[in-house]
């Protein structure tokens, strides 16, 4: 009995803390928002992103960028992808980034995908190193962290930031469920489902709401965020763990659900680039639907809603 009361008190405390944090962040955000949008703006400010979401969003930007760049350095240690349980099954890799040296010592980069060769000198397979000399390497040094081919250090970056990313992700999902961010803002409503056709057409015409409708996410946006948060990012973590020989022993053979360890590595790679694609589309949409307004709202919390009356 006592325990239960205690628990209730704790959950009350948590809710109050969240409420309090929101109030404070609204005040701070409001001031910042006023500062940033003092000149030449119409409409009214609307508090769209609470402080915890903003903090975790920007943390995620840093963590995912670091994971991508250090991941590409790790990939470069063996720049080939396979399907199945192992790399040596008497079958050629499905993707391979190779540097080739001809008789005159000239180096060229070749990308082999399903047996088809593509000349990618300067970018994939062979690119210039710090001294400007063409050398064999999977991805170019400007796309890897560290720039040099340095597997040991790249792994340190990767696993350190993987921990931060996982902690940030768990915190975000917990917060979003407790504060009902998921239920209120991310789950599509019946109206959303019915407007899906219109939303697709709007997106294809780069039409975006600026009035009251801009206060909430549109249905495609909701579905994309749900896909990223609850499918792609968790899949990324599971595929990362699937490459761990220790974690594979947790239940011997579980990686075969994903077609074996080398397939797991390939999926990890594909999902990474799917996330990059998501980021490109996300940033593109942010830019065309009012870059500064969107950016401000993710920094200060406040989004300026244009009144329906003053269309420019």
């Amino acid at each position: 009995m006592k325990k239960k009361q205690y628990r209730i008190r704790i959950s009350h405390g948590v809710l109050r803390a969240i409420h309090e944090a929101r109030r404070i962040s609204k005040t701070i955000g409001g001031r910042l928002g006023q500062l940033l949008s003092r000149t030449g703006s119409t409409g009214y400010p609307y508090y769209r992103h609470p402080l915890p979401v903003r903090i975790m969003h920007w943390c995620n930007v840093v963590f995912l960028a670091t994971l991508l760049l250090s991941g590409l350095n790790i990939f470069n240690a063996h720049p080939a992808l396979y399907w199945g349980k192992s790399s040596y099954r008497g079958v050629t890799p499905i993707v391979e980034l190779r540097g080739k040296e001809d008789d005159e010592g000239e180096i060229s980069g070749v990308t082999r995908i399903f047996g088809h060769d593509f000349a990618t000198t300067g970018f994939l397979g062979a690119s210039k190193d710090a001294t400007g000399e063409l050398t064999e390497r999977g991805f170019p040094s400007w796309l890897t962290l560290p720039n040099d081919q340095w597997l040991a250090l790249a792994r340190r970056w990767h696993f350190f930031f993987a921990w931060l990313f996982v902690i940030n992700g768990i915190t975000f999902v917990t917060y979003s469920l407790v504060s009902r961010h998921v239920q209120h803002d991310l789950l599509p409503t019946w109206q959303d489902w019915r407007s899906i056709g219109k939303s697709i057409i709007d997106h294809l015409h780069f039409r975006h709401p600026t009035g009251a409708a801009a206060k909430r996410y549109n249905v495609l946006q909701k579905l994309t965020y749900l896909l990223v948060i609850f499918f792609l990012l968790p899949l990324m973590i599971v595929m990362g763990l699937g490459m761990s020989p220790a974690m594979d022993a947790l239940y011997a053979g579980w990686v075969d659900i994903f077609f074996g360890r080398q397939s797991v590595r390939t999926i990890h790679f594909i999902v990474a680039w799917t996330l990059v694609l998501f980021v490109f589309v996300h940033v593109f949409e942010v830019i065309i639907s009012g870059f500064w307004n969107n950016l401000r709202s993710m920094i200060t919390g406040y989004y300026r809603v244009k009144s329906e009356a003053d269309h420019e």
Binding site: H78, S86, Y88, G90, A152, L153, R156, F159, P245, A246
Partner: protein, 258 residues
């Protein structure tokens, strides 16, 4: 007027963003070169070690495979013929004069011939070898259970690690002999063996003859080839570079579970 202001502010912010990204990328490089930052990053390894040891049962077995999954050729990585005259002399004689020394914190130091090692309780397993570089190969290994050997020499109470001293020099001039180490939890795991057979045949030199370690729940660099001597120690700081292995002394993690 207000429009001018806006442009300046935006221009400034764009420049700030561009500047920040250059600073961040350059900063990452500088951090990589420092001594303190990689050490901070190393906390990730400690967290991984703790977490994996926490969630993974002591005797959890690595996946074993049917013969149909065997790699046609088991890849030889790193050294394929040690540049070491003493080793080559042993190899020339079919390892008839080979003795595995077991010493350090043990009650009964031993020198074992290959026949002695083959007489120890053995295990045969088809497992996947995962290299830190990213590739995997499947092989059929037979070897003496390391746990059985350690029981035979009677460890002293303060024994904590098994160090594997190997015959393969990592420098061209024949210096920097490879070495590795594992803790007792891994040493006594049923799948941890000193392998003397690969795919039903005597272990080839390119894969670590006459003896190599199989440590199925960690990455390939832990699985020392050309094992000559086992040293049981309480702490790793007194051995070579002090980090517990040749690659560990060069920045790789001692715990290679991921």
């Amino acid at each position: 007027m207000s429009n001018d202001n806006k442009i300046t502010r935006r221009g400034l912010m764009t420049r700030l963003l561009a500047g920040a990204s250059i600073v961040v990328l350059g900063g990452c490089e500088r951090l990589s070169q420092s001594t303190w930052f990689p050490r901070v990053l190393g906390l990730g390894e400690k967290a991984t070690y703790r977490m994996q040891r926490l969630v993974l049962p002591r005797k959890a077995m690595a996946q074993e495979f049917p013969a149909t999954d065997l790699s046609p050729q088991f890849r030889s990585n790193g050294t394929s013929m040690p540049n070491n005259p003493a080793y080559r002399a042993l190899a020339a004689n079919g390892f008839a004069d080979y003795r595995l020394e077991v010493g350090g914190l043990v009650e009964q130091p031993m020198k074992l011939t290959l026949a002695d090692i083959r007489a120890l309780p053995s295990r045969t397993q088809i497992t996947r070898h995962d290299c830190v570089e990213g590739w995997s190969a499947v092989g059929n290994w037979k070897g003496a259970r390391l746990g059985a050997l350690l029981e035979a020499v009677h460890l002293k109470p303060n024994a904590r690690y098994v160090v594997f001293h190997c015959a393969d020099p990592m420098e061209e001039d024949g210096t920097s002999l490879y070495y590795e180490s594992v803790d007792l939890e891994d040493a006594f795991h049923p799948q941890t063996i000193l392998a003397y057979e690969l795919n039903g045949e005597t272990l080839p030199i390119k894969n670590g003859a006459p003896l190599r370690l199989r440590l199925e729940r960690q990455l390939g660099y832990k699985m020392a080839k050309y094992v000559m001597r086992l040293e049981i120690v309480e702490d790793l700081s007194g051995v070579a570079g002090g980090k517990g292995g040749y690659w560990e002394d060069r920045g790789y993690e001692w715990y290679a579970g991921i």
